[in-house]
Amino acid sequence: MVNGMAGCQPELMPKALGSVSVLAVDDHPRFLDAARAVVEATPGFSWIGGVTSGEEALARVDRGQPDLVLVDVNMPGMDGFELARALRDAHPETLVALISAQHPDELPADDFSAGEVLAKENLRPAWLREFWEKHRGNRS
């Protein structure tokens, strides 16, 4: 089963036991590389893959729930806010973190974000840990 899934999605890796599994969604592959490097450099977190659209992300989460999804706000087609809402409705146990290359002040107002959008350049291991610690209580 796991092999079969890996066969369909070769870039996605199985969730490591006991660690926080992270999926990243961004239409810029270059940033997915950077996100992967950050996740892999963070102890207790495991990278299960990166996808480039909201639709792909929904399909991936349906197949195997990650603990945390990093979602870029600006994406063609389904944007980050829409994806975040859809994930909250379908998988309330999955934690979503919104990220953006734009300054948070320049983002359109959305009740979902509630002012919590991370500037992409500030993505680093310490932030990942803090975010997870802050929200894990609500999820468990």
């Binding site: 810029h28 490097a37 600006n74 680093r124 291991p125």
Partner: protein, 584 residues
Amino acid sequence: MLTLVLSTISATVGLSNAAAPRQGASAAIAALTVAALLGVGLYAWRREGEGRFGQVLFATGLCWFVASLSNSDVELLYSVGRVAVWIFEMALIYALLSYPSGRLETRPARLVFAAAAVLVATLYLPTVPFVEQYPLPSPFANCAAECPPNAFFAGSEPAVLADVVKPLREGLTIVLYVLVVVVLSARIRAAGHNLKRTLVPVLGAGALRFSAAGLYIALRRAEGSADVMEIASLVAQLTIGAAALGFLVGLLQWQVYSGRALAGLSTGLAATRNPAQLRALLAQSLAEPAVELYYAPPPADGGARCWLDSSSEECSAKAETPHNCLAEAEAESGLRVCIVCDRGFREYPSFLRAVASCAISGLERQRLDAALSESLEDVAASRKRLAGTADGARRKIERDLHDGAQQHLVALRVKLELAREALERHSDSGTEMVADLAPEVDEIIEEVRSLARGIYPPLLASSGLGEALRAAGQRSHLAVLVSAEGLGRFPSETESAVYFCCLEALQNASKHAAGASGIRIELRREDDLLFEVSDDGCGFATDHNGEGSGITGMRDRLAAVGGDLRIESSPGAGTSVLGRVSIA
């Protein structure tokens, strides 16, 4: 001056006949009639279009001057005057029937005048040597009973004259006068309401005069009492004066009418926006509700002329009929106008020319206004497209920056932080990570460079069109040959417009000119800056209406710096994009 002299002579002759009753009144009427006929005749003579009638009226006035000598008590003058009266009657009939053109236009008019001439030539003039006394009393002579004898009398008066000729000619004269009155009345009835105002004073006074003259002859034949004859004589004299004044009033009426019409037309012209409004203005100014307006736009490239009515509906060309009159004019552009109005206006060609020339200038102005607003709309549309293009270009730059350099820098910043953390931990991977960042920075530099070149190529600013296009050509996958010898430099907006047009043409050729072996860009400085981007590819069928936004954008760019663009291509024969920018 001549008028003054002749009327003075006429008055003097009348006054000198001391024996005559009412000599003052007769002399005054005669002198005023001479003055009116000669004065109006001379005035009309000098006016374009009315010259012939002026001559007729002047000749009539001269006849009347000679006729007024019959007020004299000198035998010869009296006799000359009495004979001249007959000629004057004929001249007056001609003047009335030919008013206002000076020509006998209708068949009835010609017949009536011919009858008058035959009557005078057969039954009046040949009797001169055979009468001892001219018929008395006469409204032309102020001597009541003691008039001078006929100076041309040969010695014996045949009885046939008194028994046959005189009654016959008097009867025929009355018939002739009735015919004159009938013809004049018919003309008044037939005239359009505008021409009536100028015809009525002339023809009305003329009809009155001939009615009075006919009545006088009839009364004399019936041997009316002296009192009756005196009144009839006074009426006959006064109506001659009235007929003379009728010409003056008619002429003035026409002057007032034509002046008002042309003033109304020329003042209202600027406010007309279309041919229908112009027709309405013509109808109002000429007080001719039925006036029609037709026009033919300048024929395109030697094509057939197409006539339109005032509602701009296509129609056939108009021709003159017995019931109408045409006024036509043509502008330098080839635009033509044809105004169809009452046939009475035929008598006033100069007026018609003025009306048609007002109309053509109004139509020409309307045509130029329409052309101007069309080109202003083009300019506005072109400006809008340019603004849209500029906006689109800004959005593209923003997207390129966001998707390219910005994302790259963001990722770089994240990796830099990871490297810093690794170095802090003295991990070997930190050094590797820093080393990996160098090619990424190089990529970002090249990306920003390419973006800047797209906004404004640095080579264009520093070295001009030739160098910048050569550099652009080197980035093309086709061989590009640039020829720009001795081109020199131009204002930056000109160089930028030409550069981006050539670049667009170059990209089009690279994309679409299948089978092309190369592209040639040629730039020349003549009176204008000329450029040509040509390829030997597959070509296409040119269709100006169906050209893409890229070519419209090139046209707009060039138009903004006073240039234009032409595309020459056909399937299998390659494509040439030819541009020209004014550098004057």
